[in-house]
């Protein structure tokens, strides 16, 4: 059983939320949802239900710091697709499909979305491109029948949905699946000795062009202070006319 786990480098949400911090100056970290995916892969291997975990990321050489952090967590191997462009979800899904074709994993584990662009599309698109079943937003996963299927608990707006999917499959992880382990300093130092396999879209025989362009990035508007209302009627009127939510 081989698991491919994908991860993206994103600006540290903690730092960009700090006073004076901005996404442009913040250090990078592994996307928190992807970190949960890596952790789950490690736990599956620790239970003896997987034999190899291959990590995959797309980005320039600068993201190798996050690749090493992922290796330090416990990946067996790591691949970086060298590309510094701002790629849209479809372009990313196509690159992932090409790597899946080469690596032939039974399961692709990934975060449900990246916290920088919040697209939440790559897992679904990859499943569509491969024609594989998908379990998205999972908060629990159990392997069944000699690692040929999985029972997944999905967190949906309506409640918890439990589904079974046969492998090969795409699984995307939600926040409550697990709490990722921290990278230790000895782990980080050992990770430096493991090579990172670097490939390009050309190596994969792919021509990928971004189909969307980021025109500008702005901070959300500042929230103004609340107002105190005197009566229920006034509240209802404001919700109707000003907030337009009812």
């Amino acid at each position: 059983m081989k698991i491919l786990v994908t991860f993206k480098s994103v600006p540290d949400p903690y730092e960009s939320a700090a006073p004076g911090g901005s996404p442009a100056t913040a250090k990078s970290v592994i996307n928190p949802f992807d970190e949960i995916a890596i952790e789950e892969a490690l736990r599956i291997r620790e239970r003896g239900e997987a034999t190899e975990i291959v990590g995959l990321t797309i980005g320039p050489a600068a993201v190798e710091e996050q690749v090493r952090a992922a290796i330090a967590m416990g990946l067996d191997r790591a691949i970086r697709i060298d590309d510094s462009r701002a790629l849209d979800p479809y372009a990313i899904a196509r690159i992932l499909r090409a790597v899946v074709a080469k690596e032939a994993p039974e399961v692709v584990l990934m975060g449900k979305q990246a916290v920088d662009d919040d697209s939440n599309q790559v897992g679904q698109m990859l499943a569509g491109l491969l024609g594989w079943p998908q379990a998205t937003f999972i908060s629990k996963i159990e392997f069944l029948q000699n690692q040929t299927r999985a029972r997944c608990t999905r967190e949906t707006d309506a409640g918890l949905e439990i589904i079974e999917i046969p492998f090969p499959a795409i699984v995307t992880t939600d926040l409550r699946l697990n709490e990722p382990r921290y990278v230790s300093l000895p782990g980080l130092m050992k990770a430096r000795k493991k090579p990172i396999e670097v490939q390009s879209c050309d190596d994969l025989g792919l021509k990928v062009e971004p189909r969307t362009k980021v025109v500008a990035t702005e901070r959300p508007p500042k929230r103004s202070a609340g107002v105190r209302v005197e009566t229920v009627e006034e509240l209802v009127a404001k919700l109707k006319e000003e907030a337009r939510v009812i």
Binding site: Y14, P19, K27, E65, Y182, V183, S184, L185, P186, L188
Partner: protein
Amino acid sequence: MDFSWSEQQRELLDAVSRFGREQLNYDVIENDRNAVFNHEAWKKCGEFGIQGLLVPPEYGGLGQDPLTTVAALERLGYACKDNGLLFSINAHMWTAVIPLVFNGTETQKRKYLPGLCNGSLIGGNAMSEPNSGSDAFALATTATRQGDKYLLNGSKIFCTNGPIADLLVVFANVDKSRGQDGITAFVVEKGTPGFDPSHKIEKMGVRTSPMAEVFFENCEVPAENLLGKEGGGAFLFTRSMTWERGCILASAVGSMQRLLEKCIRYANERKQGGHSIGKYQLVATKLVDMKLRVESARHMLYHYGWLAGHRKAVYLEAAMTKLYLADAWVKCAEDAIQIHGGYGYMTEYEVERELRDAIGAKLYSGTSEIQRNIIASLIGL
């Protein structure tokens, strides 16, 4: 002298920041109130690699140089708000780990260092006595050789980590007629007959770091637990004390930086008389001075770290670093309370604890007066 970090150093330091922020900041107020040591956090720090930063890899450490080590401890002090935990870690590193690294026999190193690095063992030392503090070498505890063991008799006070320690480096005199040349260091393990470290001492700050009064009554220590040479204790103590002075307040620099940022945030948010209080010059001046203090403290720390890593004599620099950082930390914490006004005095705001934690820095590892004496003697007075 180069304080720009290599890629490896930066990665290590970032990992420390994140680890401290995410793994160590729980129950800090309650543990301070109840004087409870966070054992779990200690173990995590060991597994993460803090206690072994300086220890050679063959004994389970990371083999980092002193500059990287103090910078890592600074990051830990910034990220982790439990100053007592960090104080315990410091006592462990400078008074138990360092003497073993430099003076331990091969057998002693193999026996103790891996556990001291990975968080499974806790160390400390027992030096101060009720009647010998600043006059440390006047200690009254005796060690009498009897065949293949020594009998220790006496008592020690202010023993950091005493109640939780698996081993202590204990200083005793083998021959009082030799004065300071009779002082000898021993590794005393928990559970040794005649060794009683159970008398906890209540204190003002770093309350999450346990401290004990320790008694030795015909305490039988095997001769193989002699650390260094018989009569070599004073030299060993001075060496570990120099490391301690230079490094023990590394985490305080991080704590100061955290306080500075907290105060700037508060000075911008808090409005009085139609302005944020940071716009008032009396508040702004405090913050500017705090910034200067943090920056100069950091430079002294890194300068010490660099010198220690390049095998330069650092006795003077260690004393200056200790003296300046202790004063700067106390002043930072005091100003932080003043800037927060009445709120700063309240436990919930986590500023008053910093002042209580900081004040001990003027007392341990040699009082500020002793540091001044050392500096005075080294500049020719």
